[in-house]
């Protein structure tokens, strides 16, 4: 439901990440890492991004989303495993004292641009 706000943040961060010495650039792809526990719906994010990115250097860019699993570590016995359903007790010793190692990410990993003059497909 707050995907529009997330889309706007992505556009802002991505635009600021274009090396200024390259001049105006068009971003082709944004690589994101989104944890399964993050409150973001990928399809809804794509929809908002498409609308919000119009008339920005990210217009038409692809959002490549890597969904990261929920990985936990037991603080009691050090067991590490992937949590597939909402049960947050150690599968080894039953302890409820866990560290969540991944699954809450909402990160922009990289952007991809086409280098000047090397666009094999020519102008679109």
């Amino acid at each position: 439901m707050h995907e529009m706000g997330i889309a706007l943040q992505i556009i802002e961060i991505a635009t600021a990440s274009i090396p200024p010495e390259l001049g105006p650039q068009k971003v082709e792809k944004v690589n994101l890492k989104i944890g399964k526990l993050a409150a973001v719906v990928p399809d809804s994010l794509r929809f908002c991004f498409e609308i919000a990115s119009r008339e920005t250097p990210l217009a038409g860019a692809e959002l490549a989303i890597e969904e990261t699993p929920v990985v936990a570590r037991c603080k009691a016995c050090n067991e590490r495993w992937t949590i597939d359903e909402p049960a947050f007790s150690c599968r080894g010793c039953g302890s409820g004292s866990l560290e969540i190692l991944s699954g809450r990410e909402l990160d922009i990993v990289s952007i991809e641009i086409l280098q000047e003059g090397e666009d094999a497909d020519g102008p679109r």
Partner: protein
């Protein structure tokens, strides 16, 4: 920091940043500001209608005036909740949710602005009633010290497993409207078991904001938190 890789004609530019870093930075600023004044901040969240406002009315009636409290309430379109809370005598700031991005949560910058309307020197407890929603508020740090989720016995027992992020990130749960239990076939043990499944160590307070039943344990928990925050300041 940016490194650049060549990928044929494509060029990949590493970014590696949290998308919500602006909110997170602002939340940290809020947290510093509240800590400086020794104000304990509690972020209260739930589905629409679980009884946040009713619980807070009762809570304020119990705590004030020994505990000096203020409230920030996020309400999508009315001032009803602000009016109900103002009756307690606590200063109430009503905020409209973010114009862009929807009405689904309070963000850190909204709290920062709302706090400008409060005399932080004059309070030791700041309660934030978040927008009724179990998804989005979980993602937005506002600079709070504790998160509390309210669940009512008129909702499904399985809410905790349907919204695990919310229940994982909270420090306490309130199971409200227990006065209605005799009229429902609600399985309270099952609901508590689901909460424990998602967050095994979280305290669960069973209350009725209508009759006041069960309020003692919740009030005791809150008083303890307020006291340690004040102690950390001095």
């Amino acid at each position: 920091m940016q490194t650049v890789h060549d990928k044929g004609a494509r060029r990949e530019i590493k970014v590696v940043q949290r998308v919500l870093k602006v909110n997170e930075r602002m939340a940290e600023e809020n947290r510093r500001r509240f800590a400086e004044k020794g104000v304990f901040v509690v972020n209260v969240m739930s589905s629409p209608g679980s009884g946040k406002t009713a619980t807070l009315q009762k809570t304020l009636a119990r705590l004030m005036p020994e505990v000096r409290a203020a409230v920030i309430v996020g309400d999508v379109s009315t001032t009803h909740d602000a009016d109900r809370l103002a009756v307690t005598g606590a200063p109430v700031v009503q905020v409209n949710t973010d114009a862009f991005g929807g009405d689904c949560h309070l963000a850190a910058h909204v709290i920062e602005k709302a706090a400008d309307d409060l005399d932080l020197e004059a309070i030791e407890l700041l309660i934030v009633e978040n927008v009724g929603n179990l998804v989005c508020p979980a993602e937005f740090d506002i600079g709070e010290d504790a998160r509390v989720v309210v669940l009512s016995v008129t909702e499904g027992e399985d809410k905790p497993v349907k919204y695990p992020t919310m229940f994982r990130t909270c420090d306490a749960a309130i199971l409200n409207k227990i006065d209605l239990l005799p009229h429902l076939d609600y399985d309270k043990e099952q609901a508590v078991a689901y909460i424990r499944q998602v967050n095994p160590a979280m305290p669960v307070f069973e209350i009725s904001a209508r009759t006041g039943a069960g309020m003692d344990a919740w009030i005791g928990w809150l008083r303890e938190k307020i006291k340690s925050k004040l102690k950390a300041k001095s």
